[in-house]
Structures are given as C-alpha cells and as structure tokens.
C-alpha cells in the first residue's frame, strides 16, 4: 500500500476550479517531484493534503495517508496530524520563521504541540534535530534568533521543525527557489539524506526541471490544475508523451536564435567601467563615532562593445546589483569612472541627462516596477523626459505604439492599466519602456528571474531579437547560469565585490578557470547530466 494516495482530487475556491481529477501516489522512502508553472495548482495540491486551504475552498475526491482518509478529518484531527505525520516546508526561508522566537523554541514547539513532554525534553529533541540538519550546537545554540542566520541556515531550521517528530510524509514547496545555487545544492542533498535515513516520503514541488531530474524517483507534471503526465522520472523525460512536457523541457533549455548578420563591435566601446568602488556605510552604532564602511564593489573594470551582450553572474550579496546601480548613477561611486557612449560619470557625481538617456534598465519584479495608477501609455513614455525636445501629441503616441509592438504587445494596450497584464506581459512593457528612447545600453537586472520557464524563453527570444535588430548592448545580470549562458557573448563572474573571471560565455561555462566559477557551475543543477547519471545507475 502506498504511503499517500490521491484519487480524483478536485478543488474549487468560490466559483474558480483550481484542481481537477488529480491522481498521485507516493511510497515511503521515495521522492515525488511535482512540476508546473505558476497557477498550475502544484502548491494548492500540497495545501489540500495539509488541509490548509484558503477559506471558501471545497475539495472533492480522496486523499489517503496510510489508508486513512484525510478529507473526512475534522480540523482538530488535522491539527494533531500536521507536524506529526505530515511535515511541510515552504519557499521563503527569510519569512517562514517567527522573528521574535529563538530557533530552539520554534523547533521544540513542534514536539510540545503534539507530545506530552517537558520543556527540557522538547529542547533536547530540538537540539538533536538541529544537529541532524547540520546546524551544530557550538555555532547554532538553541537561543539563536532567525535574524542571526543566513537564508540557507534558516531553511535548515524550517526543515528541522518539519522533521522533529519524524513524519511519514514531508512536503517541500519550492524549498530552494529563494536560495543561491551552492546553498540549493546543500539543502537538496540534506533532504535526500533525510529521506534515506528516515524512510519518509518526500513531495518536492518545484518549477525547476533540473532539480527534480536529479532528485525525484517519480514526477508529475501539472498544468492548469490537471496532472498532464506522471511516471518514473527517467521515462517521463525520455518519452515526453504529453506536448506540455515537451514545451516545458524545451523552454527550460531554451537558447534564443541569433541573427547571423549580427554585428558585435569590439572596437566601438559603449560602456567602459574603470576601477569602480562602491562603499556602503555600515549602520551607525553611536552618535559620535563615524560609521564604518562595507566595500560592496571593489575596483571593478570592464567594457561592453556596441551590440554586445555581457553577462554578470554571482550569488546573493556579491555586489552585482550594487554595481549596476552605480553604473546607472542611482548611487554615487566612491572611486572610479564610467564612460558611456561619449558621456562621463565620475565618482561622487550623479549622471547628466545626456548620460541618462544613453541607458535604461529593466528590473526583476514585473509587479513592483510600475506605478499602478498610470496608464501604460504614460508608463512607457516616461523616459521621454530625458530628451531635450520630447515628442508630443500624435508623434508621441505613435512612438509608444511602436515600442509596444516592438515587444510583441498591441498598440491598443497603451490605454490599459498595468494590473490588466500578466507577469510576462508586464516585463514586455518594462522592456518597451527601456527601448522607447533607443538607448545604446540596457541593463537587465535579473529581468527574467521571476518569470515561468515558458514565458522566460519568450522574453529571451525577444531580447535577442531586439539586440540583433537594433544593435543594443546589454549588461545582463543574473544568478541563473543557464540563462546567462543562453543569451550572452561574454560573461563576468563576481564574488565579494570583485570580478574573479572574465571570458567568452561558452568558454567560461565549458571550461571554468577560477575555483569559485567551478564551484558555481558544479552546484547548478543540469537536466542532461542528472538524466545521464540516472541511466548509469540503472544499467
């Protein structure tokens, strides 16, 4: 008998049908990967198992854990089940822990809620559980608070809370999406270890095919509230019976086609960054002491040719966004100079209007980057303020419509508000806004990181096409190595404010020189490698 069997599960919230005919099962000691894009219902399936659905939800069908029907349980019975028989961990480790309670208290709480034990006893279990998730007592005493830990360490605490009572089933909803690649690799191997040791079943929900290809025994692919394909991992990936599986697979490895006539100029430098230094004042501790400084960007130099797509990769806190803000003159540099197509931005000074109109930026968050009270027309035409003679009336409207059409939107979209668009459409509008004054340089700061893989593939195609056709240079900043590899000509690898490696993208990814680059590339999950390793194991 399976550990968990889901049959004909359906879910409605109000009038909206969220899930339909879901059939899934998982055995103890197994990992089931559930893959899907946002809105596919993968998280809602997990919350249905936990019965932690939003109010107004109506479920149908059957969810049996060890043969016991969960959908018949009362809320009180579910409370005694959650945390004891089913544990769950979530995506955002930074906010998943209560900031005002110690990690010891929070792990011990799982025990105290379920078992009639003393506080000392619970604390002892908390200690040994934290040891199991590799947070040793000498560095991580029980009285630590969450804000004293890094994201990866916090995720370990969340895992400790979920496994303290050794549940039969652990549900992990995007457990590593918010983490850096090296941290992701560590957390995934920890989960694998716990599954092997405790024989529990693990449901791993993710949007990242490479992660499940490596870890999961079985996978289920979801789209629009339905499981479109499910089965043993290797056969699903090798056969790809359903069209959506093929789309998903193609999108996650997507490399945009470049125009053969594309010209990347080595001699005509658009952006040249020389010895840029960016210091942050550390938080003031006294009214009279001068606050210390933290050097986020340390003597960085590089250049971008006309039409060139340069990548900048590095993990969280390496200084890549700080560097981009310095180039954009959003923050003043402490030393160094930036030459931008004939304009100069010096240390300690802001950029002139002439310099500002030579560059535009697209940020990560397609939802937060727009003023919700303006129409798209006004949003897209905003950079016109940088021109000495901004176009007016019909001419302005025409340019807005052309910019929208350039990014694959309709001219009539100019009259809509931003909330009427999806995340991918919003990112297109952000690109239209950057394009409208035809700057020679666009900085893309994690511009595709928040998008689903299929949307991401479309946006990458669009970016490649625009660069080829209009000769625009990109500084493409991302933590995602595969994306950077797909779109850039050259790449910079940054660590602790310093560029540690520069080279042609293919060369760097194929044959990394610096130990840090090697470490990054090794930690990044890779579908083909994972599947090959899987085949080897079988044979």
């Amino acid at each position: 008998m399976s550990l968990l069997t889901i049959k004909d599960l359906s879910l409605k919230i109000g009038d909206a049908e969220i899930l339909r005919d879901i059939d899934l099962s998982i055995n103890g000691g197994e990992i089931l990967g559930i893959i899907g894009e946002s809105g596919s219902g993968k998280s809602m399936s997990a919350l249905s198992i936990m019965q932690l659905l939003p109010s107004g939800s109506v479920t149908g069908g059957s969810i049996k854990l060890n043969g016991v029907e969960l959908l018949d349980k009362s809320e009180e019975e579910m409370c005694s089940l959650r945390g004891r028989d089913i544990g769950m961990i979530f995506q955002e480790p930074m906010t998943a822990l209560n900031p005002v309670k110690t990690i010891g208290d929070q792990v011990a709480e799982t025990v105290l809620v379920h078992d009639n034990v003393s506080r000392e006893e619970a604390m002892k279990i908390a200690r040994s559980t934290l040891d199991r998730v590799e947070l040793p007592a000498d560095q991580f005493p029980l009285n630590r608070y969450p804000h004293e830990l890094s994201g990866g360490q916090r995720q370990r605490v969340v895992i400790a809370m979920a496994i303290a009572l050794q549940p039969n089933l652990l549900i992990a909803d995007e457990p590593t999406t918010a983490l850096d690649v090296t941290t992701q690799a560590q957390i995934l191997s920890l989960l694998q270890k716990l599954v092997d040791e405790d024989g529990m079943g693990l449901i791993l929900i993710t949007h990242d095919l490479a992660v499940v290809a490596d870890l999961a025994d079985h996978i289920a692919i979801m789209q629009n509230g339905v499981v479109v394909e499910a089965g043993e991992t290797l056969s699903v990936f090798r056969e790809m019976k359903h069209e959506y599986t093929r789309t998903l697979f193609a999108a996650s490895n997507h490399v945009p086609k470049r125009d053969e006539r594309r010209h990347v100029s080595k001699d005509e430098v658009i952006l040249s960054v020389e010895d840029v230094v960016r210091d942050y004042p550390v938080k003031r501790t006294s009214l009279f002491k001068k606050p210390g400084v933290f050097r986020a960007v340390d003597n960085v130099s590089f250049s971008i040719g006309r039409g060139e797509n340069l990548g900048l990769v590095g993990e969280r806190g390496c200084g890549k966004s700080t560097l981009s803000r310095a180039i954009l003159a959003l923050d003043k540099m402490q030393a160094g100079v930036v030459h931008l197509d004939g304009e100069i931005i010096s240390a300690g000074e802001g950029a002139s209007r002439a310099a500002r109109r030579k560059m535009q930026v697209v940020f990560q968050d397609p939802y937060g980057s727009f003023n919700p009270r303006h129409r798209v027309d006004k949003l897209v035409s905003e950079p016109f303020y940088l021109l000495d003679a901004p176009p007016k009336g019909a001419e302005r409207r025409l340019l807005v419509e052309r910019a929208l059409e350039n990014v694959g939107m309709l001219a009539s979209d100019a009259d809509k508000y931003i909330h009427e668009f999806s995340g991918g459409q919003r990112q297109r509008i952000a690109i239209a806004r950057a394009l409208i004054i035809e700057p020679p340089l666009i900085i893309l700061d994690e511009a595709v990181s928040a998008l689903d893989v299929s949307i991401r593939a479309q946006i990458l195609d669009l970016l490649a096409e625009l660069s080829d056709r209009l000769g625009i240079s990109y500084l493409f900043i991302s933590h995602d190595l595969s994306v950077v590899r797909a779109i850039t000509d050259r790449v910079l690898v940054m660590k602790d404010g310093v560029i540690v490696e520069v080279g042609k993208s293919e060369d760097v990814f194929r044959n990394p020189q610096h130990p840090y680059t090697k470490q990054l590339i090794a930690a990044a999950p890779d579908i083909e490698q994972a599947l090959a390793a899987r085949e080897k194991r079988i044979n």
Partner: protein, 315 residues
C-alpha cells in the same frame, strides 16, 4: 539588552537638552512682555523696568537659560507671575490629578482595545468583526467631551452614582479618588480605545498573513494557538507606538475633559498660563510635558526591544 537601555538613556538625555533649548528660545521670541502684562496697561515705564529687573528679565539670554535649567534640576521651577506662588507647588497640586487620570484612561483604553481588537481579527469579516469595526468608527468620530456629557447625564444626574465634576483629592482615600476620576477617564478612554482596537486588529491581520503563521499551522498548531503564540507578539510594535502617543496626548491634551469635569489638571494650568501671558508657567509645564513624553518614548523603545529581538543589538 543592558547596553541597549544605556544607549537609549544617553540619547534620551541629549533629546531633553535639545528640547529645553527649543522651549526656552521659542518662549523668548513670543511677543508680549510679562512685566508690562503683570503691571497692567497704565503702569509707568519705570515701574515695569523695575519689575523686569526684579524678575531677572534683563539678564543676558544664556544666563537666564542657565539659571532656569539649574532651577529645574533642583526642582525650582520659578515663581508664577500671576499666581505669585512657586510653580512647583502649582504643578504638584495638578500632576496628581493629570498623571493618575492619564494612567487610568490609558489602562482602560488597553483593557478595552486588546480583547476587542484580537476578537475582531480572529473573526475577520464575520458579523462580530463588522459590528466591532462599526462601533470603533463611532468611537473615533464622536468627540470625547460629548461622551463626557452623556456619561454625566446618565451616571451623575439620573443615577447619582458618580459626582458630576470636581475632584475630592487623594486625602479622602484611594477609592474615593479613583471614583472621582472614573467618568473623565472613561470619556477619555473611549475614543482612544477605538483607535487602539483598530490598530490592534489591522496589525494582527497583517501578522496572521505572515509566512511564519502558516509555518506554525503546518507544525500542527490550531488557528487560535498560532494567533496567540506567533501572531500576537509580532503585532505589538505598531500597537506600542500608538500607546506611547496616546499617553503623551492624555497627559496634556485632556484640557477639555478637565474643563467639563472641573478638574484641576495640568492641561488647565497651561491653558491659563497661555491666556494670562504667564510665560514662566508655560515654559516649565511644557518642559515637564516634554520630559514625560520623552520618558514614555524611551519606555516604548525598551518595550519594542523586549518584544522584538532584532531591535536589541544596542542600536
């Protein structure tokens, strides 16, 4: 935690010094010569000049500032121009009305607001929630003196349980004093409680939506347990801020209620001081109120740190 408190105390002291400067010099700039005001309009210039000399108004600015500060530190607030009695006596009489009244009203406000706010948040969008929100809206909209009049009408005139005004003094016994302050405290507390309950509710609703509350539910805590153990303490920061502001307001802002109930409070003292150009009274009382506000702010800061470990790091 100790370092934190020490550092906060130093900044408290600096704030007080800065405040004393501002108060002193602003009062200096205010038009109207206390001496000529005291002598009346028919007084001869010589007599006014003599009085100015006597009051020490002719000394250089910084000298007067220093003597004022030194006096304050020794508990000598100077002598009222109009009452001709030491200001410390004036304040001492009134502070024992205003301070207990403020504390009483604030306690009531908290006692009403906490359960009501938590209940509304726990039963979000239910009939209970909607009625509570409606009632608090009314509580904010209706001015406190109107409440005061209604209370007097019901409990003092019709039922005669409380006196309609005046304060018997604490010499008559603790409960007599409390009884004398009850109606004014309730009328002060009702609007304050309404505001506080709404803040409590919205702050709690925010924290109930936080990821860690979901995590707590995944551990097996019931909705109620998650609220009490995880959401409530995190919801306290905005609530503490409002409590701090309310206390400051209640100390000096109760002048209307003091008038309605004929209470000899600090608010009335300042009011008289201003209308009678008794600037030394104004200056001293304002300084005292500033002191009270800064101390309360300090206490609120310490309470923040007590609630939230992230604020403890001596910053």
């Amino acid at each position: 935690m100790l370092v934190f408190i020490l550092k906060r105390s130093i900044s408290l002291l600096l704030t007080l010094i800065a405040a004393s400067f501002v108060i002193f010099f602003v009062i200096e700039v205010v038009p109207g010569d206390p001496a000529s005001f005291m002598m009346g309009f028919e007084a001869s210039p010589e007599a006014v000049e003599a009085l100015r000399e006597q009051l020490g108004l002719n000394a250089p600015l910084w000298e007067r500032y220093l003597s004022w500060i030194v006096g304050l530190l020794q508990g000598d607030f100077g002598t009222s121009y109009t009452y001709k009695v030491p200001i410390s006596d004036l304040i001492a009489d009134r502070i024992w009305v205003s301070l207990p009244l403020a504390a009483f009203a604030l306690t009531l406000s908290i006692l009403i607001a906490f359960p009501v706010g938590v209940l509304a948040a726990a039963k979000r969008n239910s009939a209970t929630d909607v009625s509570i929100m409606g009632a608090t809206q009314l509580g904010i909209a209706i001015p406190n003196f109107w409440f005061a009049m209604i209370l007097v009408l019901i409990f003092a005139i019709q039922n005669r349980w409380f006196s309609a005004g005046g304060f018997p003094g604490w010499d008559e016994g603790f409960w007599v004093g409390v009884k004398g302050l009850t109606l004014p405290a309730i009328s002060l507390a009702l609007p304050q409680a309404s505001i506080l309950a709404r803040v409590m509710r919205s702050s709690l609703l925010d924290t109930l939506d936080e990821d860690y509350v979901r995590t707590a539910r995944a551990k097996g805590l019931s909705r109620r347990q998650a609220l009490w153990r995880h959401a409530l303490r995190n919801a306290m920061i905005p609530v503490l801020t409002i409590i701090g502001l309310q206390f400051s307001f209640l100390m000096a802002g109760s002048v209307i209620i003091e008038r309605v109930f004929f209470l000899p409070g600090i608010g009335s003292l300042v009011f008289l001081g201003i209308t009678q150009r008794d600037l030394i009274v104004v200056k001293s009382v304002v300084m005292l109120l500033v002191f009270a506000v800064i101390v309360v702010t300090f206490l609120v800061d310490v309470a923040y740190a007590f609630v939230d470990p992230r604020l403890r790091k001596g910053r």
